[in-house]
C-alpha cells in the first residue's frame, strides 16, 4: 500500500510567530529565518576555488572578509546560475562563520502565524528532508523553509587531504 511518509520535522517555529526572509531560486520560493541573515549583498566578482563542485561558486570580498558563495540553483536544481546584475547574495552568519547563498531575487519578509508551518512531505531519498525544515502555504504561495545548519555544513562536506602521488 502506498502511503506518503511525512517526517514530522521539529521546529520551534511551529508554536509561535517567526519571521523568514523569502527569495526565489529557479522560480521556487524559499525562506530562511531572519535571525540567521546577516545582510543581502549584490553579487560582486567571485574567485573560483579550483577543483571544487559547481555549487561552490567561489569566494567573494565582503568588506575585507573572504566569503564563500554557494550557488543554490546549482545545488538544488543541478543547473549553475547565469548571473545578471540583479542576482544577489544572502549572507548568513553563525557565530564567527559566514556563508553566502546566491539566489535569483529576494522577495519579502514572511511572518508566520502559529501552526502555519507544515512538515515537509518526504517521498523518496532526496535531500529535501535534509535542507528543509518546513513548508508554508499562504494564498497562492508555497514557501519552503531552509535550515541554516545543513547549509553551513556544505563547507564541511570535506576535502580529504590527498596523499601526494609519487613518481
Amino acid at each position: 500500500m502506498l502511503t506518503t511518509e511525512t517526517t514530522p520535522v521539529a521546529t520551534e517555529a511551529n508554536s509561535c510567530a517567526e519571521q523568514y526572509l523569502t527569495f526565489t531560486v529557479q522560480g521556487e520560493e524559499y525562506g530562511i529565518a531572519i535571525d540567521q541573515v546577516r545582510e543581502i549583498k549584490v553579487l560582486s566578482e567571485t574567485t573560483r576555488l579550483p577543483n571544487t563542485p559547481d555549487y561552490l561558486r567561489g569566494v567573494m570580498n565582503l568588506r575585507g572578509q573572504v566569503l564563500p558563495v554557494f550557488d543554490l540553483r546549482a545545488r538544488f536544481h543541478g543547473v549553475p546560475t547565469q548571473v545578471t546584475p540583479t542576482h544577489v547574495v544572502v549572507v548568513l552568519s553563525q557565530g564567527t562563520e559566514m556563508i553566502g547563498l546566491l539566489v535569483d531575487a529576494v522577495l519579502d519578509i514572511l511572518e508566520t502565524v502559529a501552526g502555519e508551518i507544515t512538515p515537509v512531505p518526504v517521498r523518496d531519498l532526496s535531500d529535501a528532508g535534509h535542507f528543509l525544515s518546513g513548508l508554508v502555504t499562504r494564498d497562492a504561495r508555497m514557501v519552503a523553509l531552509l535550515s541554516a545548519a545543513p547549509l553551513f555544513e556544505l563547507t564541511r562536506a570535506g576535502f580529504i587531504h590527498p596523499a601526494p602521488t609519487t613518481h
Binding site: R48, P50, I160, H167
Partner: protein, 671 residues
Amino acid sequence: MIHPLDQFKATYFTEAAELVEEMERCLLTLERTPQDAEALGALFRAVHSIKGGALAFGFEALVRFTHVVETRLDQWRSGEVHISDAWMDGLLQARDVIATMLAAAQEERSLPDAMGEAVLALLHPASDAQVMADFSIATFLEDAVIQELALDAVTTYDIVFIPQPELLLSGNDPLRLFAALRNLGTLSVTADVSAVPDIAALDPTLLYLRWHLVLSTTAAESAIEEVFEFVRHLCTLTITPRVADAASPAVVTAPSVAEASGIQTAATATATTTTLRVETAKIDLLMNMVSELLMTQSILSARMHEAQRYQGDDLSTEIEALGRQSRALQEAVLSIRMQPVKTLFARMPRVVRDTAHQLGKEVTLVMEGEHTEIDSSVMEKLADPLSHMIRNAVDHGIEAAAVRVAAGKPAQGVLRLSATTSSGRVLLTLSDDGAGLNRARILEKAIARGLVSPEKNLSEQEIDQLIFLPGFSTADAVTNLSGRGVGLDVVRKNIESIGGTVRLSHRPGAGTCLTLSLPLTLASLDGMVVQVGAEHYVLPIASMVESLRPQPADRRTLHGSQQMLQVRGETMRLQSLARLFRIPDAVEDPAQGLVVVVEHGDEKVALLVDALLGQQQVVVKTIAASGISLWGFSGTTVLGNGRVALILEVNDICSAGAFPPATQRAWEGLC
C-alpha cells in the same frame, strides 16, 4: 558596582603569572648551582609578592600555601636548612600548585581543600602547625614595604546625576562630563534606562537616561562639583562621600603592596627596558585597519592610472607617497607582533628536566638565539610541537648514561635548541648528541606495522622519512611521553599548517638534528601575482628562484608522460598550473608563456603560467567559514582591485603529479 580593587586584580594576575615563570627559572638555576644567592633572592621575592597580593584580595588558600613556601625559602636563605633533591622536586611542585591556585582564583573557581597538602608535607615534615601559628595578618602588615609607602587619602563618592530631558538641547554632552570625572580618579558608571520610552514615542532630541556614578579620587568634593558647573541648573545632582571605615586603610594600602613588590622585583630584573602590556586583540584590529588602508591606497592608485594621469603630476606623486607611508606603517605594526623566541624557549628547560628525570637520564639543554624575533601567532602554534620534539629527543635520541659512557661519550647528553633568521624565514634547530637513528630498527618496525611492504627497496633517506608516518614508533612500551605513535607526523602536520617545513638529518652514533623552517609572520607575505587563463594567483616570493621564457628546444618528456624542462643545464619537472587547477583558455606551450622556477626542499620545479603581473605585499586572510580545504593553496588575500586571490602552496603543487588529486570524488561521495 565595580569594586575599586578589581582593576588591581587584573594587574595582579598578570604580574603573578610572570612571577610564577620567574620562580621556575630561579628554581632550575638553583638546581644547577645551589649557591646562586641572586637566584634564591629573586625566588624569595617572587613568592613574597604573590603572597602580598593574595592577602589583599583575600585568596586565603593561596596565602596559607605561599606563606609556608616562603618560610622554607627563608630558612634556606639564612642557611638554616640545606636543599636536597627531594626538596627541589617539592619546590617545583609547589610552584605548580601556586600556578594552579592563581588560575583558579582568576577564574573564580574553587579548588579541593586538600589542594597542595601533599606538597606542603614534602616541604614541612614536622613543624607545620608552629609555622601557621606564627603567621598573623598583623605581623605581615608590619612589613617594611607598607611603612615605606606614603599615600594620599582616597575618598569614594556616590554621585547621582539626573539630567532634565532637555539637557542635550543646550549642547551639553554627559559623556564629556564623565570624561572629566575620569581625569579625577577611578570612575564607574551605571546608567538607569528605566525612563526610556518605546521607540514609537521616543523623541531623539531628549535625554531619557539617568546615571549613578562611583568615583574614587584624591581630589576635593569641590572639584567634582566644578565638573557639573555648566549643567547645574539642568539637572538634579547629589554627591555623597562614603565614610571611610577602619578596614579601608589596610584595603587601600594592600594593593600597593602588590604593586610595590611587583615593581621591586621588576626593577631588579630588567632595569633598562620600558615595556607596555597590550591585548593581542587590539593589535589584530590595528593590523586589519592598516591592511584596509593599504588596499584603499592600492585602489586609488589603480583608478589614477585608469584616469590616465601621467607621472610627475602632483596627484600621482602624492598617492605614491601615501603608498610608501602605508607600507611603512604596515611593517611597523607587523613588528609589534614580533616577539623574541625567548618566551617560547623558556618553557623548554622544565620539559627537558622532567622528561630526563622520569627516564633516569642525564640531559642538559643549551639554548641559542633566544632574541630572534618571530610573529607571536607563529610562536603560539610552536609550543606544543616543540615540547613534543624535545620529549622525543630525550626519550629516543639520548642514550642512557651507561650506554653513553660505554661509547666514549660523556654521561650527560646535550640538547641544543637554536633560532636564527635566514632569507625571510626563521630556522629553529633541535640537535642532540645521542645515537642518531637506528635505520635497521626503523625499517623493521615499519614493516611490522604494515606501513611499508617488505619487498620495497628503500634508500637511506626514505627509511629516515618513515618516522614521520602516522602510527609509527620504535618504542616497545607506550609511555606517557612518546611511543604512542602519535608523534612526529602530528608535529610535522602542525608545522606545515603554519607554512613551515620539518627536515631531519642524523649521523648514526653521533646525534640527530631536526630543522624547522618557519615563515617570519603568518599575517602577510611578499607575493608575485601570476596570471593563468582568466585567473590571478599569488605566488610567495620566498619560494621563487627565478622566472624565464624557455626556448622550445628546452622542453623534454621523460618516460612518455612527465614534462621536463632544461634550465641552464639543470633538468627539472614542469608543472602546468592550468592543468592542475583545470583552468580553461590558458597558455599550454611553455615557449608562449612564462616559467617560474620554485624551490621545494632540495628540488627545483618549473611552474608554467601565462604571465607575471607584478609584486605585491599581501595580507593573508582566512575564509570566513571553516572546513573548506584548499588543496594547492595556503590561504587567500584581497588584491588591490578588490578581488579575492588565492595564495599558491608550493609544497602541494610540487608534490603532486601532473593532474590534480581526486578531491572531486570526496565531495561527491559526501554530499
